[in-house]
């Protein structure tokens, strides 16, 4: 499984990107990431989360490719569900 996190936007528009392929990770790390992804509760039909009226907040795109196809889930810094944030922080923190 490949998971990538792309951050963009913000007042200064300074991005960040990290990508992880669990097949290249040690078993323990791969299992942890699989659990986080399962726990994130990503919807079947991705719909972006956006904070009404907010501007200059970071945009996050989480792309998950499980081998059968990839889906991208979008949320801004303030509206991101807690379980998505766990994935973002883990992937960017590992990166």
């Amino acid at each position: 499984m490949k998971i990538s996190v792309q951050r963009s936007g913000g007042f200064a528009n300074i991005g960040a990107h990290a990508e992880v392929d669990t097949s290249t990770l040690p078993r323990e790390k791969a299992d942890l990431l699989h659990r986080l992804i399962r726990g994130a509760g990503f919807p079947d039909q991705p719909a972006p989360h956006r904070t009404p009226g907010a501007a200059d907040v970071y945009q996050y795109d989480i792309t998950v490719d499980d081998g059968t196809g990839s889906k991208t889930y979008r949320a801004d810094e303030l509206s991101m569900p807690e379980k998505w944030r766990a994935v973002v922080e883990h992937v960017l923190g590992q990166g």
């Binding site: 792309q6 951050r7 963009s8 936007g9 913000g10 007042f11 200064a12 528009n13 300074i14 991005g15 960040a16 990107h17 990290a18 990508e19 992880v20 392929d21 290249t24 990770l25 956006r50 904070t51 009404p52 009226g53 907010a54 501007a55 200059d56 907040v57 970071y58 945009q59 795109d61 810094e77 303030l78 991101m80 807690e82 944030r85 973002v88 922080e89 960017l92 923190g93 590992q94 990166g95």
Partner: protein, 392 residues
């Protein structure tokens, strides 16, 4: 931010990610990592707004500011450290947030007779020291939030009056055109914040259009970063060029270089360079103090004539028509607006030019705030020629 054999992770503008792929500067990487660690506490924000609702609309015509200290946290708004009329803090960030929010309030009030963000005296709340080494400043829908910068690429975001004017103007937009924060309408939202941010700075410095630097975020880049600011309205795409940190300023200056991207809400901080250049063109052509004519045209058009889905062409039409209403059809100001947009590849529609020509009376700018978010982006309202009243 760390680089490991099985991961790729770097902090740079999206358009030049490759530049930092090989970065070996551990301090830069670490600072970037801190900026990414947005606490889960921010999620409580929505619920916290409720109790403040009653405080947001009171005392018309009175400037009210509060500054909160996040102390590295992200649960907004943080600890109250300065209120209106309170004595200065020993913390420079607190004082900058307070003083520059005050200048922005004074600017809007003196130049456009606007009473705060909502035109009803809404209290201006700012939170400083948000998160750790946070390379951003934002408007969260209710207040301004400022990071300290990582010290490697950015210094503190409160240091620039135009940054504070920019963030506060997002509030003004929220209460007027409510421009969708996506693609062209989002770039117009960003553009209007840059325009007013720059004008607040010019107004406080008493600079004419010719004297102004037209930079956004001058002084924000840390020592050693090759650049003068984050954006240049006069010359989009030239604000910085540093392969080791930020890469190159990606802003286009005309429509032929419009950037299509799904990042940054469709490039709202990138394509804003196009209307930014148009505004500079207009202000430079008219001359004098930019806030007096070009600024007034833009403010009137953006707060009264644009709906939430407005595109660049709508802004060109609205500002052109407004220039005719404020300063006369076919006068130098209106010509400057038409030429300013044409220079960046956007033409005012023939329908608007024809409609504008029907205006025979110099009308004062509407004083009422526009309704939030109309259905269409901008529908020209036919203005009938008014018969001249004969004297005697």
């Amino acid at each position: 931010m760390r680089l490991e054999h099985d991961h790729v992770c770097f902090i740079v503008p999206p358009h030049i990610l490759k530049h930092l792929a090989g970065s070996s500067n551990a301090t830069v990487r670490e600072g970037a990592q801190h900026a990414l660690e947005v606490s889960a506490a921010a999620r409580g924000k929505r619920m916290a707004i409720g109790p403040f609702a009653g405080l947001l609309a009171a005392s018309p015509g009175v400037k009210r500011r509060t500054v909160y200290d996040e102390r590295g946290g992200t649960k907004l708004p943080g600890k109250l450290v300065r209120s209106e009329g309170g004595k200065a803090s020993s913390d420079v960030s607190v004082n900058e947030a307070y003083d520059y929010a005050g200048d922005t309030y004074d600017f809007y009030n003196a130049v456009f007779a606007r009473n705060s963000v909502d035109n009803k005296g809404m209290r201006l709340d700012s939170s400083v020291h948000y998160n750790h080494r946070f390379n951003n400043a934002f408007w969260d829908g209710t207040q301004m939030v400022y990071g300290d910068g990582d010290g490697q690429i950015f210094t503190r975001f409160t240091a620039c009056i135009d940054v504070i004017g920019h963030e506060l103007t997002h509030g003004v937009t929220q209460f007027t055109s409510a421009l969708d924060y996506e693609a062209q309408s989002g770039a117009l939202n960003e553009h209007f914040s840059d325009v007013m941010g720059s004008l607040v700075k010019q107004w406080t410095l008493k600079q004419t259009a010719a004297q102004a630097d037209w930079l956004i975020g001058k002084g924000l880049l840390a020592a050693g970063v090759k650049g003068v600011a984050l954006r240049s309205m006069k010359a989009p795409g030239t604000a910085y060029n540093d392969p080791k940190t930020l890469g190159r300023d990606p802003q286009p200056a005309d429509m032929s270089h419009y950037v299509n991207t799904n990042q940054d809400n469709g490039g709202v901080h990138i394509n804003s360079g196009i209307p930014n250049k148009a505004f500079y063109n207009v202000a430079a052509a008219i001359g004098g103090n930019a806030w007096e004519k070009a600024g007034k045209i833009w403010y009137t058009a953006f707060t009264n004539k644009l709906g939430h889905t407005a595109q660049f062409a709508d802004a060109a039409n609205a500002t052109y028509e407004t220039a005719g209403e404020l300063f006369g059809v076919g006068k130098a100001e209106q010509i400057a607006v038409g030429e300013g947009w044409k220079n960046v590849g956007i033409n005012v529609s023939k329908q608007i030019i024809a409609g504008s020509a029907m205006i025979t009376v110099k009308a004062p700018p509407p004083s009422q705030p526009a309704p939030a978010a109309s259905e269409s982006a901008y529908v020209p309202i036919p203005i009938k020629p008014q018969p001249r009243k004969s004297k005697g």
